[in-house]
């Protein structure tokens, strides 16, 4: 009985399913659009490695947390977005 009540409250806390749908769509569309533009996922990975290499010369970055993606800006433009977490703000020498 108590469990059942808890279950009800848990459901209330859950994220709305339409927001889940929106988030999933956003991601899937980014990849679909990349495919349409003829950009393969390998390109994204290669860029990631290059970015890590270049930036690591100057800053210590969290390599696992690095994310790059294509975001649709509006009707005609797509932007390349990169999120590069820095471990230590100190510059190397």
């Amino acid at each position: 009985m108590f469990e059942a009540v808890k279950e009800i409250f848990k459901r209330e806390d859950k994220e709305k399913s339409k927001d889940v749908a929106k988030e999933r769509l956003r991601l899937v569309l980014v990849h679909d659009r990349m495919d349409r533009m003829g950009i393969s996922r390998d390109v994204l990975n290669d860029m990631k490695e290059d970015l890590i290499e270049v930036i690591s010369k100057h800053l210590e970055i969290d390599q696992k947390g690095l994310e790059i993606n294509f975001e649709r800006q509006d009707k005609d433009s797509v932007a390349l977005e990169a999120n590069i977490p820095i471990k230590n703000e100190q510059q190397k020498e």
Partner: protein, 263 residues
């Protein structure tokens, strides 16, 4: 006359394209416009049935482009509005029977006599889509609020842009306001944001659509149909009228509750 041509299309099949074409076409005729509807879904003729004109077909679009008959002979006049005509699809041929060049020629010819030339296209992933959009001025993309249909709509918008038709307008079909309110269905704002297109209409889910399709009488002519009212609003928007979104789909009491922050 210098008419305008539209293609009504979708990525996913079964989202209500043909119903949309029949209702918008009938709505524009009711507004006093000369309208011709072209069923370009060759091999899957359907628009005739939705309009209740299936018994009047003698010639079809393929007969016209192949020169078996004159264009006027293939055009079927609507039962209710004499300014509404249908050019039916061929049932026995495949999607390649009409080439883009022929379609373009046909459009130009029809635009001289009609205010609106509206093409019911096959779903985008199917062959024949490029034929159906040849020579059109504007595109309307129909989707339902499901993830799969919205994903495919995005693909179609991309394909339309690649063919030089940008700025497609969006119609969201089969929206359930009760589910939208609970947060279990995406609303038009969500979809417009994701797809980065303009909105043309929100059509509520309505049992009357089934009834009107059974009867071959578009819901736009049925006063009690909520979907019919929403299609009527779309027709008026196409005519340039300012009609607020959701004005009829949402009742007075909902607005009242919203105003006081109770919803």
């Amino acid at each position: 006359m210098d008419g305008k041509s539209y293609v009504i299309t979708s990525g996913k099949g079964g989202v209500g394209k043909t119903t949309t074409v029949a209702n918008i076409g009938t709505g524009l005729a009711k507004l006093g416009r000369k309208v011709v509807l072209i069923d370009a879904d060759i091999g899957l003729r359907n628009l005739d049935v939705v309009l209740g004109l299936e018994n009047r077909i003698v010639y079809d679009i393929v007969d016209v482009v192949e020169g078996n008959c004159r264009l006027e002979q293939a055009l079927i006049r609507d039962k209710r509005y004499s300014s509404l005509h249908l050019l039916p699809a061929a049932q026995t041929r495949d999607k390649t029977a009409v080439e883009p060049g022929q379609m373009r020629e046909l459009m130009e010819e029809l635009k001289e006599d009609y205010d609106y030339v509206i093409v019911d296209s096959p779903a985008g992933i199917e062959r024949g889509f490029k034929n159906a959009i040849a020579g059109v001025d504007e595109a309307v993309v129909v989707t339902t609020p499901e993830v799969s249909a919205v994903r495919d709509a995005d693909r179609i918008i991309g394909m339309l842009e690649a063919e030089g038709i940008s700025g497609a307008d969006l119609i969201i079909n089969r929206v359930r306001m009760d589910m939208v309110k609970k947060g279990d269905m995406m609303n038009i704002e969500d979809m417009v944001e994701i797809l980065a297109v303009d909105q043309l209409g929100v059509i509520p889910e309505d049992e009357e659509i089934v009834v009107s399709t059974n009867r071959g009488k578009p819901a736009v002519l049925v006063d009690k149909s909520k979907a019919g009212q929403a299609f009527w609003n779309v027709a008026r928007r196409i005519e340039g009228e300012e009609v607020p979104m959701l004005s009829l789909e949402e009742g007075f009491f909902d607005k009242f509750k919203e105003f006081f922050g109770w919803s």
